[in-house]
């Protein structure tokens, strides 16, 4: 589904990613762990197509198509979803209006019929069951006055509604209390399926207690330096990142 080969990228002329290789098959959950500044968020922004992240080398194929040539909205319509580390607030844009607009933009791009207000509401009610998000938050402007946990739940709710093929979760667990972490994890688990893949970027192991990954990769200084299964995450939690960096050196 996603083939990243020898990917290098820089921000403001500074090289952050230095030759990443990663292959994600349908239905797999990959966790990418690593210390601060290792390039985790850069990788997620490069995959989502943010301006200011210059790919200097390598390729990224998504279902055989060259992802790097696509606009951010084309990537979204193709089935890529990025859950933001810091979801932005958008005053003046009603959450429900926003959700309907983006869902229909994606449906339209895929040649599907746009949902009318009634069908959309039915879909919202169905998806709300997956994510414990208070319904009245949908009537407010996007993320305005939301707590940290509510913002992250809102991200997972958007993911549930948009049903992506590949979801990239960029430190979705950061800043969450236990209840919110559990709610986010339940949402992600409910969305796991044979056809849907996840790349979970995280600094800590605790989200992976709830969402058990197939692979764990350690990103350090712009490269994947170690790959293992879920036990690698436990080892990292116990020993910290230092021992891996020593091994690499």
């Amino acid at each position: 589904m996603l083939e990243i080969k020898d990917l290098s990228a820089s921000v403001d002329g500074k090289e952050i990613l230095k030759g990443i290789n990663l292959s994600v098959k349908p239905g797999q959950v990959h966790a990418i762990m690593g210390p601060n500044g290792s390039g985790k968020s850069t990788l997620s922004y490069v995959l989502a197509g943010r301006d200011g992240y210059d790919v200097t080398k390598g390729s990224v194929l998504f279902e055989g198509k060259n992802l790097l040539e696509m606009e951010p909205e084309e990537r979204a319509c193709a089935g890529i979803f990025l859950a933001f580390q810091y979801p932005v607030a958008i005053p003046g844009v009603n959450n429900m209006y926003f959700l309907k607009a983006v869902l229909n933009a994606q449906r339209k791009a895929r040649g599907e019929d746009e949902l009318d207000a009634m069908d959309f509401m039915a879909l919202v009610d169905e998806k709300l069951k997956l994510v414990s998000l208070k319904k009245d938050l949908l009537k407010r402007p996007v993320n305005v006055g939301f707590s940290g946990g509510e913002k992250k739940r809102n991200e997972v709710f958007q993911m549930a509604l948009l049903e992506p093929k590949l979801a990239i979760l960029d430190e979705t667990d950061s800043g969450l209390d236990i209840d919110a972490l559990k709610a986010v994890a339940d949402g992600v688990n409910a969305l796991r399926s044979d056809g849907r893949s996840f790349v979970i970027i995280t600094h800590y192991q605790r989200l992976l207690d709830h969402v058990v990954p197939d692979f764990v990769h350690v990103l350090s200084n712009g490269r994947i330096v170690k790959t293992g299964d879920k036990n690698l995450a436990l080892e990292l939690e116990a020993k910290g990142y230092g021992w891996i960096e020593e091994q690499v050196v």
Binding site: A48, G49, P72, E73, F84, P91, G92, F98, A101
Partner: protein, 460 residues
């Protein structure tokens, strides 16, 4: 303030040449004396230049270079009832007064079945002596204010106005429905200047909702050169409430100068919205004086510049009595090479107590070539005042744009959505609900890349 000696900047030739193109003007001896006084004051002042504080970013002298002529009343014959349908909103009760090229159009106006306690008429047809006197005293005070605030064009209007609307509400009368004032300009043969003057006079504890719109009828693709110099005078009796919505949607080549002069008695409320959308050179000037205690003033404005449009917004609120409250909220969206100006003044003299005044001006620049000048002018000499002000200038937020695009929205849609969101509170301030919804719905369509047909639709 300039000294009242004649200046030689073309203003005298401009005003006299224009006057000779006008037909006979209405008015008795008293009114004519006022006209003459206003004309002399205008000529003494000359055309405002950047040397004046409130004209710092708008030089008006270019206006005297065009040989403006009074529009011919015959032009209105070409405007048909069905041409107006898009400017109205179904069967909404109230009255409408239609002016075409500054002339009252009886055929298209509907004054009919108004309830007791309200009178609506064109200025040229006001014959009631008491009302005439009231209007005369209003004009006299407007002339004094024009001299004090260097509002040369309000003076010119006082000297040369041909018609306008007069709305008077008796004490304790709450008017159902809306009074629609529609000022249309047709495609004209030569450069024309129209100078309507309106009066809205509310008795004690009365209430009315007035919607004043200035709309050009030419398609934007056709050249149209005209100049509308409009004054609306508002006088609110004790505890009276005026809901007032104003739209400036002149043709692309037009000049629009609008002055709204408001006097508020104790406990009265002036709730106003203004949308400035059209014209190549537009200026709106709110001058509000709270003369009685406990008055409330709430003015919101949206200015939207594209191409080389110039939108100047001036507002002054004078708290001349205690326990007054005022709020100014102006937002600018500036695209292309357009220029926006906001100059907001709050005046609180010594010994006035309990004033609460708030001013906000936010500007969104959609293009690197657009510009804005924003200037708060707070003149507060009293001790017991709560006053806040803030001004911002910025571009669309890159994080928000990326967020929306990452969810599947095209760049253009995301820009439109964020721009509409920026303006949402000033759109909310439009009190005439169907008009508010139309602007909300269609604002996005007129943004960068919006089609000309969408642009036409928004004219109402």
């Amino acid at each position: 303030m300039t000294t009242p000696t004649l200046v030689d900047d073309g203003s005298r030739v401009f005003s006299r040449d224009y006057a000779s193109s006008q037909g006979p003007l209405f008015g008795d001896a008293q009114w004519n004396a006022l006209r003459e006084r206003a004309l002399l004051s205008f000529e003494g002042m000359g055309l405002p230049t950047r040397k004046l504080e409130n004209w710092k970013y708008s030089d008006s002298r270019f206006l005297a270079k065009t040989p403006w002529q009074a529009p011919h009343p015959k032009a209105m014959e070409g405007v048909l009832e069905e041409d107006l349908e898009r400017f109205f909103y179904g069967e909404i009760s109230g009255a409408r007064l239609v002016f075409i090229d500054g002339h009252y159009c009886d055929r298209l106006s509907r004054i009919g079945d108004l309830q007791d306690g309200i009178s609506v008429a064109p200025l040229s047809e006001v014959h009631d002596d008491e009302l005439r006197e009231l209007i005369d005293s209003q004009v006299a005070s407007s002339i004094e204010a024009g001299k004090a605030h260097s509002n040369a064009f309000a003076l010119l209007n006082a000297a040369q106005c041909e018609d306008g609307a007069v709305i008077r509400v008796s004490p304790k009368t709450e008017v159902d429905g809306f009074i629609n004032l529609l000022f249309l300009t047709t495609i004209t043969e030569g450069p024309t200047l129209a100078q309507p003057r309106n009066f809205i006079i509310l008795g004690e504890r009365s209430q009315v909702h007035v919607v004043e719109r200035h709309i050009g009828l030419a398609e934007d693709t056709q050249p149209s050169e005209y100049f509308n110099n409009v004054v609306t005078q508002v006088r609110l009796g004790p505890e009276a409430i005026l809901n007032y919505d104003r739209v400036q949607r002149e043709d692309a080549g037009a000049i629009h100068l609008g002055s709204i002069e408001v006097h508020q008695d104790r406990g009265s409320q002036f709730k106003a919205s203004s949308v400035a959308f059209g014209a190549s050179f537009g200026r709106i000037e709110f001058a509000i004086e709270q003369r009685g205690a406990g008055a409330e003033t709430d003015v919101s404005g949206l200015y939207f510049g594209r191409n080389r449009q110039h939108h100047d917004n001036q507002i002054i609120v004078k708290h001349m009595a205690s326990q007054g409250r005022s709020k100014q909220l102006f937002k600018g969206i500036l695209d292309g090479h357009s220029q926006g100006i906001f100059n907001g003044r709050i005046v609180v003299p010594e010994n006035i107590v309990g004033t609460e005044a708030e001013q906000t001006n936010a500007n969104l620049l959609l293009s690197a070539d657009a510009s804005v000048n924003t200037k708060p002018q707070l003149e507060i000499y009293a001790e017991d005042v709560k006053c806040s002000h803030g001004a911002t200038i910025g571009a669309l937020d890159a994080d928000q744009l990326f967020f929306l695009r990452s969810r599947g929205m095209t760049k253009k849609s995301a820009q439109s959505l964020l721009t509409a969101a920026f303006a949402s509170d000033v759109i909310d301030a439009i009190q005439f609900a169907p008009m508010r919804e139309r602007w909300r719905e269609r604002l996005g369509k007129t943004l960068t890349g919006g089609s000309p047909s969408a642009d036409q639709e928004i004219k109402g």
